[in-house]
């Protein structure tokens, strides 16, 4: 896109040129909130029918909704907010999308160009504030740049490692006439992400993998971002090789969780078998994951004996925290295609005997059943949160179900006990850990998939962070189900306080909670409550059968902790198992570990 415009047509206003460019980029829905600086855009939206606008109740929710939309469709999510507070409210959502590599284009209003820098009403230095919160951002100062910038923003958001891109739009640019031109297919001047892997690196990877005795495939959100084709290729590769596979939180669903080769999630709350396989493996193949600190635990004890192969589309993700032996830069689908072809073409024989022995070892770890818990089935018994998730999973099997989460214990239980067999059906805030993500994200998913069952698995603390979006759900009749695991605590904070801070529950009790059933009713939704285990299945069934927004308030065991757990600063082979296991419950955390989050 080099400004070489073939045909350009002068549009009556910048706002009209903008909308035409959005349509050319395939935008069907915008999540937004109006204000003075963006009124020209809202006026243009009013006068057309192709792009639907969803009016949220807070700008942060607009971005999360666009994230849910993007994550569940593979398209770019679009956000429209006003200047000043509209833009600053959106910042949390932008950083969330940046951390989790979600393609978003966020349009912000700005005061007219002649007022920029004058501390005008609702002025904020939006490009300054969001420079580190976005993949890239733009301030449009000339009408002739407007359409080129919009086209370019979508290209930057969706290609390479995807991410949020912000366009700051001064009001005069929106009002004045602006030329329109179609998107150009020319390469960007400076931005050219690499997608095809280097064949030499692929050959090196295959040489290591073919000779491996204890291989482990470790996958992340990059597979999801590479599209459904990458998930198919991943399944093909894993079946072809017979390797065990584990996934990060962000990568769940890329490989079918119900398949026996899948060891479950890894990391701080990953399964025993996946973490020990990572620790003891001799060749690790990382596809589209980034050696996050929640995955590696103590870095100098992370998988000490393995040769590491890392494939990622972002060169900066390679050798950032963990030095690797083979670095492959490329799109996950392209890398997998190349790996499959090279594996088949390579004449070296795989050591099937060693692999069988490795699987024996893994099956032994698996037999520990690290996710074990006990649910007392006597009527009147308290509900275990893990059981609530398992029952929800059973009740939704065979349906088109999308799950979003907030952040905390419920998020980890959802990741552990809900089995995702397909990509793009699991939306969670992994990198930033944003409480309040799940409800608006579910809103965005439901807008994209009106007939699907969309459940926000949440906690009573997180859900209150964007509870105002109940209004949006009501306005657009979005039948999102909000499944609250209500333990009356910020559960993960309480868990850390129990394990690391002498059970001093400082500010983690959810004092003065609302009555969620009445809250639902006040927002024109249906409120349900399960107090004891004998209520649970009935409430889940009623929730699913209700064709309206539902809040299901599931009262769960207040003292339950998420296990297994690798305490901060500990290596993978020093996991804590739950109270069901003999060594359960005692965290030996060093001072250095205490300083970690």
């Amino acid at each position: 896109m080099d400004g070489t415009i073939m045909t350009s047509e002068l549009m009556k206003s910048g706002a009209e040129a903008l909308l035409r460019a959005l349509k050319a980029q395939g935008v069907e829905v915008i999540f937004g909130y109006p204000g003075g600086a963006v009124l020209p855009i809202y006026d243009a939206i009013f006068q057309q029918n192709e792009i639907r606008h969803i009016l949220v109740r807070h700008e942060q929710a607009a971005v999360h909704a666009a994230e849910g939309y993007a994550r569940s469709t593979g398209k770019v999510g679009c956000v429209l907010v006003t200047s000043g507070p509209g833009a600053t409210n959106a910042v949390t959502g932008l950083v969330d999308a940046l951390m989790d590599s979600i393609p978003i284009v966020c349009l912000t209003g700005q005061v007219p160009t002649h007022l920029i820098g004058n501390d005008a009403f609702q002025e904020a230095d939006t490009t300054g504030i969001t420079r580190q919160a976005t993949k890239h951002n733009y301030l449009v100062k000339r009408s002739e740049d407007l359409v080129r910038v919009v086209h370019e923003a979508f290209q930057v958001a969706r290609t390479g490692r995807p991410g949020p891109v912000l366009i700051d739009l001064p009001k005069d640019i929106l009002i004045n006439p602006a030329p329109y031109s179609e998107p150009s297919s020319a390469a960007h001047r400076s931005y050219r992400p690499r997608t095809e892997p280097d064949p030499q690196r692929i050959a090196e990877a295959i040489a290591l993998l073919k000779r491996s005795e204890r291989p482990i495939v470790y996958t992340g959100g990059g597979i999801i971002n590479a599209g459904p084709e990458a998930s198919k290729l991943l399944t093909e590769f894993v079946r072809l090789t017979g390797f065990p596979i584990t996934s990060t939180l962000m990568g769940l669903g890329a490989y079918p969780a119900s398949d026996p080769q899948f060891l479950g999630m890894l990391g701080m709350h990953g399964t025993y078998e996946s973490n020990l396989a990572m620790h003891d493996g001799d060749v690790m193949l990382n596809l589209g994951a980034r050696f996050d600190d929640r995955v590696t635990g103590r870095l100098n004890a992370f998988s000490p004996g393995s040769k590491k192969i890392h494939a990622d589309i972002d060169p900066a993700s390679i050798n950032k925290s963990v030095a690797v032996d083979v670095a492959i830069i490329g799109d996950a689908a392209a890398v997998l295609r190349a790996l499959i072809a090279a594996w088949k073409a390579d004449s070296a024989k795989q050591d099937k005997e060693a692999l069988a022995k490795w699987w024996q070892q893994i099956d032994f770890w698996r037999s520990k059943n690290s996710l074990r818990y006990t649910q007392n089935q006597d009527p009147g018994s308290i509900i275990k949160p893990q059981y609530a998730i398992e029952q929800l999973y059973k009740a939704t099997r065979g349906r088109k179900t999308f799950i979003t989460t907030e952040v905390g214990q419920h998020q980890m239980w959802a990741a552990q006990y809900f089995k995702f067999d397909k990509p793009n059906h699991w939306m969670t805030s992994g990198g930033l850990g944003t409480m309040g993500y799940g409800l608006p994200a579910a809103m965005g998913v439901q807008v994209a998939h009106p007939d699907a069952l969309v459940v926000d698995i949440s906690g009573e603390a997180s859900v209150l962070m964007n509870i105002q979006e109940m209004g949006t759900l009501a306005q657009y009749r979005l039948p999102v189900k909000i499944f609250i695991l209500n333990n009356q605590y910020m559960g993960m904070v309480r868990q850390w306080q129990e394990l690391l801070h002498g059970s001093r529950y400082s500010s983690s009790y959810s004092e003065a909670l609302p009555d969620f059933v009445k809250l639902a009713e006040s927002f024109h939704a249906v409120g349900l409550r399960a107090q004891t285990v004998d209520d649970l299945d009935r409430v889940i069934a009623e929730m699913i059968a209700t064709d309206r927004t539902v809040i299901a308030d599931i009262c769960v065991d207040q003292k339950e902790n998420v296990y297994p757990m690798i305490p901060s600063g500990a290596p993978h082979n020093e996991m804590l198992l739950g109270p069901e296991h003999k060594n359960g419950g005692d965290a030996n955390v060093t001072d250095a570990g205490m300083a970690l989050v």
Partner: protein, 169 residues
């Protein structure tokens, strides 16, 4: 893990000459906790469409590789070149004001001559020297001027380029 030996690196970055590009580069360094020992920037194309940023930084090999990768993925960056991986030239210019009289003044002038610094302003009580050279040469000269009435310094920062016919593009 890589070794913990620190090394200095001189990195040239060719960027689109647009508003905010320097802030992106500096924000990257401050946000990720990298060092900036020295930084210069100026347009280098005839039409002023591109600028060249020269950054002197230090870190472990792993950190320097990471800095280069992070710079490389900024949208307005055309090219990142680690000059310290090959033979290269680095120069900076300093304007140095020395105030004094008598023997000190004489000595300052003699030393300036030895360092090939030019006198570009003089009064009865002061000189301003212009000195070009590698950073360590400038540092050495300033050390010598300090007891002789060094009053003020303005330095440009480092401009650097690879030896031979190869170019950054």
């Amino acid at each position: 893990m890589s070794d913990s030996n620190l090394r200095s690196a001189t990195i040239s970055v060719l960027v689109e000459n647009e508003a905010g590009v320097l802030a992106r580069v500096i924000g990257l360094f401050s946000g990720r906790g990298y060092n900036i020992d020295n930084l210069t920037v100026a347009p280098v194309e005839q039409d002023r469409s591109k600028s060249r940023i020269t950054i002197v930084t230090s870190g472990t090999e792993m950190v320097i590789e990471q800095i280069k990768a992070q710079l490389g993925r900024l949208v307005p960056v055309y090219k990142v070149l680690d000059l310290s991986q090959g033979p290269h030239l680095a120069r900076e210019l300093a304007l140095i004001k020395v105030v004094g009289a008598g023997e000190h003044r004489q000595e300052a002038l003699r030393l300036a001559d030895a360092f090939r610094a030019r006198v570009i302003d003089a009064s009865t009580e002061s000189f301003i020297f212009e000195l070009t050279g590698a950073t360590d040469k400038l540092d050495a000269f300033l050390d010598l001027m300090r007891p002789l009435g060094l009053a003020e310094v303005s330095r440009t920062g480092v401009a650097a380029i690879a030896r031979g016919k190869g170019t950054i593009e």
